[in-house]
């Protein structure tokens, strides 16, 4: 690209998170320099101290909102972003830190900190879409690199990214895996979980633990019945829906059927 020609500006923002999803971009070792060639990396503090102020064409937002300050900051990010994509379970569902939504955050603070009075935090961890309009969501804890590159290429080509909303089961079948639930009686969240990881856990002889969150209209009630038959008690059922996507409505509701 000729110098002076305007490239779209990319910004990467962090809210409450583990940094894993934005790290996925730096983990695209083979594509990183090409991405940096096609986009102006205008704001990405984890990678560069350079900072171009103003507005951004493509904003990737990682993390959930857990402080009053962040609730304001996301408004500012939205104002300055033309196309805003949330990346990962924290940003799209509140992340593992949304477990506080089911508990007393004061009690949590007192467990972790000697001086709870030094800590400012909200009682809940909420996804970005509860605060501002989101143009596209990427699932996963962490997101898949392949899907991240798809979002960037689709943005550059001016089309909608393709990220199938079906269940992990379909990915398992496509991969030719033997079903861990049918063949080994291993509890698996695959039938209710959004595709995207490539059926990773079943490929390693373990059950899916739902890190991509619920698929579109999952039948979690019937899945729970199956899991019960495989020996999971109410406490285990509540826990299994209550992890990295505990705040996603389908998983939250199903967990609440098995205990408070």
């Amino acid at each position: 690209m000729a110098r002076g020609e305007k490239k779209p500006r990319l910004a990467v923002w962090k809210f409450a998170s583990c940094d894993g999803c934005q790290l996925s971009l730096l983990d695209c070792e083979d594509e990183l320099l090409a991405v940096a060639g096609a986009l102006d990396v205008a704001y990405f503090p984890e990678a560069t101290r350079a900072e171009i102020s103003g507005t951004y064409d493509l904003s990737l937002v990682e993390g959930s909102v857990t402080t009053a300050h962040d609730a304001e900051r996301i408004q500012e990010v939205r104002r300055r972003s033309k196309f805003l994509v949330t990346i990962g379970a924290c940003a799209t569902a509140g992340g593992i830190q949304a477990l506080r939504n089911f508990a007393d955050v004061k009690e949590y603070t007192s467990v972790v900190y000697a001086r709870p009075d030094y800590i400012e935090t909200l009682a809940t961890s909420t996804p970005i879409a509860e605060h501002v309009a989101v143009d596209f969501e990427l699932r996963g804890c962490p997101i898949s690199k392949r899907q991240l590159l798809e979002v960037v290429s689709a943005y550059l080509a001016g089309r909608r990214p393709v990220t199938p909303p079906h269940s992990t089961c379909i990915e398992c079948k496509l991969k030719g895996n033997v079903c861990v639930m049918v063949a080994h009686g291993t509890p698996c969240l695959g039938p209710a979980t959004h595709a995207g990881c490539g059926a990773l856990c079943p490929s390693y002889d373990r059950g899916c633990y739902g890190c991509f969150g619920p698929m579109e209209s999952p039948n979690a009630v019937s899945l729970s019945r199956r899991l019960q038959d495989l020996g999971m008690d109410a406490a285990a059922l509540k826990r299994v829906y209550r992890s990295f996507n505990a705040g996603a409505s389908a998983f939250r509701k199903e967990s609440e059927r098995h205990g408070k």
Binding site: L32, T66, Y108, Y113
Partner: protein
């Protein structure tokens, strides 16, 4: 020039959200403060009541750069509570997984985050315009580390294959063969990376640190060993609380660790290297000497060289493990839940990571405590700023700020980890 304040409200090229402030009065650094404002996520609170089967998946999410370290300290601590020892090929596979994380994490920091400080760039991406070969080589080396994680763990970030007792699935010997080919190329890339960073200009600054790391009779430490220091400390992980304590400082959502006598101590590459030089292979020792290092390194600006040495070590160790690998009979040892207390310390890329769990008889967690490397290093980082920055006050503000940032980045601080558990302002009046 006598009174200045250098403030960085959002420190770049570190993992997570931190800031710092250095206050200069009458030409002296009066105060240096590292602030962690990363919002707390309360892992130790919500781990209570979770099953030991979920533990390694949950703690991984403390940090996207070093999830394996969290997984390793967690499973070792639970195994310690249950009185089991994972040995043989499963132990070797855990070491191999850790090699992958050391390579990926160290090379990211060396090439993309720290080298730009020495060569005068904003970041690795703009540095690539003039140093394309070095950056591409670094990315290829980092990828070799990630290839280990992907093969053994399922994915680079938050691997899914680790459990108490071992793994869900152990790799076949033939699956590891292509990895060995990648790692042979990585060995050359690691050596070249080491030679490249050895040629940087290092500020001539040393401090007499208290180094703390693990030490193992036969190996450069990863998963096991006694906690030792250069001042005669030699204890088991279970005795950590008798010698170290955490304090909660007002400017931080992180807790700071100190020795019980109040002194700061340093964990991470410098400490590990200086306490375990004799455990490196002769070839790696030789490479370190050629890179200008002695057997002990007290200059934190040279930590980039030590990281490159450790990356080389990790590549060699990975190759050795693959060459000797025998497939285990079962991917994991059988586990019987039992009540108990367990401790473990392992060597995360940034330093010792200590965990303690109290377990209930039904296989759930009653109590969790986690002390990450960056909270242990926080006091040292502030002391480095106080001791070193006074010597750089002839620099103009922009350059001085950059020097301060470099001084903090010497530690490759991992702020998401430190939360519970880091922000720069330089105030010159």
């Amino acid at each position: 020039m006598g009174n200045r304040t250098i403030k960085v409200d959002y420190l770049a090229r570190v993992e997570g959200e931190g800031a710092f402030k250095v206050v200069v009065r009458d030409g002296k650094v009066q105060e240096a403060e590292l602030r962690i404002f990363e919002p707390p996520r309360f892992f130790e609170a919500f781990l209570r009541g979770r099953s030991i089967d979920e533990l390694s998946d949950i703690v991984a999410r403390i940090c996207g750069i070093c999830p394996v370290a969290y997984q390793m300290s967690a499973v070792h601590a639970v195994e310690n509570a249950l009185g089991i020892t994972v040995d043989g090929p499963l132990r070797e596979l855990r070491r191999l997984l850790y090699c992958g994380e050391w390579i990926e994490s160290h090379v990211l920091h060396v090439t993309m985050l720290h080298a730009p400080d020495f060569l005068g760039y904003q970041g690795g991406i703009d540095m690539a315009r003039d140093h394309g070969e070095a950056v591409r080589r670094g990315l290829a080396l980092k990828k070799a580390g990630n290839d280990i994680l992907t093969l053994l763990g399922g994915r680079e970030i938050h691997p899914i294959n680790v459990r108490v007792g071992g793994f869900y699935r152990a790799p076949r010997r033939r699956e590891l063969a292509p990895l060995a080919e990648t790692l042979k190329r990585a060995r050359d890339q690691a050596l070249e990376t080491l030679r490249w960073v050895a040629g940087f200009d290092f500020p001539d600054r040393e401090r007499d640190y208290t180094f703390v790391s693990l030490r193992h009779p036969d190996e450069y430490p990863f998963n096991e060993g006694h906690i030792v220091s250069n001042r005669g400390l030699d204890i088991a992980a279970a005795d950590y609380d008798d010698h170290f304590g955490e304090i909660h400082v007002a400017h931080s959502t992180a807790l700071q660790s100190r020795m019980t006598d109040g002194g700061a101590y340093l964990v991470g590459p410098l400490a590990r290297y200086s306490l375990n030089f004799d455990k490196l292979s002769p070839a790696v020792q030789q490479a370190a000497r050629e890179a200008g290092l002695g057997e002990v390194c007290r200059n934190p600006y040279q930590s980039i060289v030590v990281r490159a040495v450790e990356a080389l070590h990790a590549v060699e160790e990975a190759l050795r493990i693959i060459a000797d690998y025998q497939e285990p009979e079962r991917p994991a040892m059988a586990i019987e839940p039992a009540a108990g207390v367990g401790f473990a310390a392992t060597e995360a890329p940034r330093g010792m990571l200590w965990h303690r769990y109290v377990l209930n008889g039904d296989g759930t967690i009653a109590e969790a405590r986690i002390v990450p490397p960056t909270s242990q290093n926080q006091a040292c980082i502030e002391e480095d700023l106080t001791s070193f920055i006074g010597g750089f006050l002839d620099l103009p503000d922009e350059a001085l700020q950059h020097r301060c940032e470099q001084t903090v980045r010497n530690y490759d601080p991992c702020i998401s980890c430190a939360t519970h558990f880091l922000r720069l302002d330089v105030d010159r009046g």
